[in-house]
């Protein structure tokens, strides 16, 4: 499929900039952008996985050097994450055979992005209002126990200084791996809040740990997509990677200068807008009601 190399490189830079600024993988922005410029959703999802693996590896090295990474927690999330990814890739193959893959990718984006976007906007607007009235920005503090802490199979994670049941850890890892394989997103923007609110992981180790998980799920998704669906476009992925890792470095510098709640509001608006764009795409009548898919010999 002919796409402009410079357009893709520019998109890699722009998305990389935002991912550096907000501390996210950027897959949820990159995949939709590729779909909007005409790359088939299936190829976009599979190739973006490689791109996210690259940017999260570069991030993970950084956090490793600063010892801001909980290896034990990451390993347990990973085991579940790989299971989730394999299940996701399997479902991806089934849906593709049923001609419903593009629809499911679209619907997942609409649901996830509008909901997450709305929550982020709501939360950050409240924080901004509180800051305006001179109150402390964060009211809710991690530390209180929830029902999740009453579950059996408790494990102690030394570096994060938490003592939690293995069940929610496995559940979160599985969910992120599954969503990542189907939607072509690393899931960092979901994983970080989940680790903070459900497992009470301290902010010092949360981003580094999340990056390791993103790295491994996306790297294994790349391999699995290539082996089962033959959809990974290595040339496309390479162009995205180069743009992405460079953009991320500059984005990170801008991000450090901005106020946290402003940053979250911007990110929330962005997430919400992408979700609306997907909803529009599904609801407007397509130019041609018929489409062709190669089943063999292509």
């Amino acid at each position: 499929m002919p796409v402009n190399i410079f357009l893709v490189l520019g998109m890699g830079l722009a998305v990389g900039y935002m991912s550096g600024m907000f501390g996210i993988g950027g897959g949820f922005l990159m995949t939709p952008l590729l779909i909007f410029i005409g790359v088939s959703p299936a190829v976009a999802v599979a190739s973006v996985a490689g791109h996210i693996a690259a940017s999260s590896f570069s991030g993970a090295i950084n956090y490793w050097n600063r010892r801001a990474l909980d290896v034990a927690l990451a390993l347990m999330l990973l085991g579940a994450g790989i299971l989730g990814t394999a299940t996701g890739v399997w479902l991806f193959t089934v849906l593709r055979a049923l001609d419903q893959l593009d629809l499911i990718i679209g619907l997942s984006y609409v649901t996830l992005l509008t909901v997450v976007g709305a929550i982020m906007i709501h939360e950050s607007v409240r924080a901004i209002i509180r800051a305006y009235h001179g109150m402390p920005a964060t009211v809710r503090r991690p530390g209180s126990h929830t029902w999740l802490h009453g579950l059996p199979f408790k494990v102690r994670f030394k570096r994060s200084k938490i003592y939690v049941s293995a069940i929610p850890v496995w559940a979160i890892g599985f969910l992120i791996g599954f969503i990542g394989a189907i939607m072509g997103i690393g899931g960092g923007f979901l994983l970080v809040p989940m680790l903070i609110y459900f497992l009470r992981v301290p902010t010092a180790t949360v981003i580094g740990t999340s990056m390791v998980l993103t790295l491994v799920t996306m790297a294994s998704a790349t391999v699995m997509h290539a082996a089962t669906n033959h959809l990974v476009d290595a040339v496309l992925a390479l162009i995205l990677m180069v743009g992405g890792v460079v953009g991320a470095q500059f984005g990170a510098r801008t991000g450090q200068k901005m106020r946290g709640e402003r940053l979250r509001l911007l990110l929330g608006l962005l997430v919400f807008a992408v979700g609306l764009r997907f909803a529009y795409e599904l609801m407007v009548q397509p130019d041609d009601l018929y489409s062709i898919r190669y089943t063999e010999g292509g």
């Binding site: 570069s58 990974v232 290595a234 890792v245 009601l289």
Partner: protein, 258 residues
């Protein structure tokens, strides 16, 4: 781009098991091997040919009509139809076209309907409407009526991509017995072997037939990547992953700030 390279060794001479008073057709393709490189934007080939009347015949040659059918490698494709369900557009119905040409061109010197009767055109599969496009319908595989909505949509979509075409002025007679036919290949032309079938008509009847072939191949890096992705999926996946890790590592080294 128009490449006219005569490859006389490719001359294909055939008399065909057709009518008794068969005319001899001699054709040659300007470029029997098309190589797709990274900057390939489509190609135009020329098929040259002459009609040699039967040795016993005398007098001026009759008015010839010529139909060239180019058939690309066979593929199985699925055509899907969208419909609005609860406000969103969903693929609700699909039909599989089994082993149909990935490229199909029907080239002639005038509209095929004027060349021969509908009966003969159907029997010889001349024209997009008459070419057999078998669909899987339940357990059976059969072609449908030409105004079947799926068949119509399929031909239209393929035509939009330049893969199916019917052109009534692609064949020109330079002299009453010497002709040339222009074959256009789009940028995303499928790779494989193409069969070129040349049919000669006089007064609505088939008097001669011959064929030639051409090959479309990919060359260079694209070919290598495409083949690797198809044949060694797992290896290709690992290579892509290692490439990702390397890029990530390189970035963290290059942009290291202390």
């Amino acid at each position: 781009m128009r490449r006219i390279v005569f490859v006389l060794s490719m001359l294909t001479i055939a008399c065909g098991g057709g009518p008794a008073d068969a005319e001899r057709l001699v054709v040659s393709l300007s470029n029997p091997r098309v190589a797709i490189t990274s900057n390939f934007v489509g190609d135009k080939l020329v098929l040259f040919g002459t009609v040699e009347p039967d040795a016993g015949k005398t007098g001026p040659p009759p008015a010839y009509d010529l139909v060239v059918t180019v058939v690309g490698p066979r593929q199985t494709l699925r055509t899907r139809r969208k419909q609005r369900v609860l406000g969103i557009w969903v693929n609700v119905d699909s039909r599989e076209f089994v082993r149909v040409p990935s490229y199909l061109a029907i080239l002639s010197n005038r509209p095929v309907a004027q060349i021969a009767s509908p009966d003969i055109l159907r029997r010889l599969q001349i024209g997009l409407d008459n070419f057999l496009l078998p669909q899987r319908i339940g357990p059976d595989i059969a072609d449908t009526v030409r105004d079947d909505p799926f068949r119509h949509a399929f031909v239209q979509l393929q035509s939009q991509h330049g893969l199916y075409r019917q052109n009534a002025d692609a064949v020109t007679f330079l002299t009453p017995a010497v002709f040339r036919a222009a074959i256009s290949l789009p940028a995303d032309v499928p790779v494989g072997n193409y069969a070129v079938d040349v049919k000669l008509f006089v007064g609505g009847g088939l008097v001669g037939r011959t064929n030639a072939s051409l090959a479309v191949t990919k060359t260079g890096f694209e070919q290598y990547v495409a083949e690797a992705a198809r044949d060694n999926g797992l290896l290709y996946g690992f290579a892509t992953m290692l490439m990702a890790l390397f890029t990530g590592w390189l970035a963290s080294v290059v942009f290291k700030r202390d």
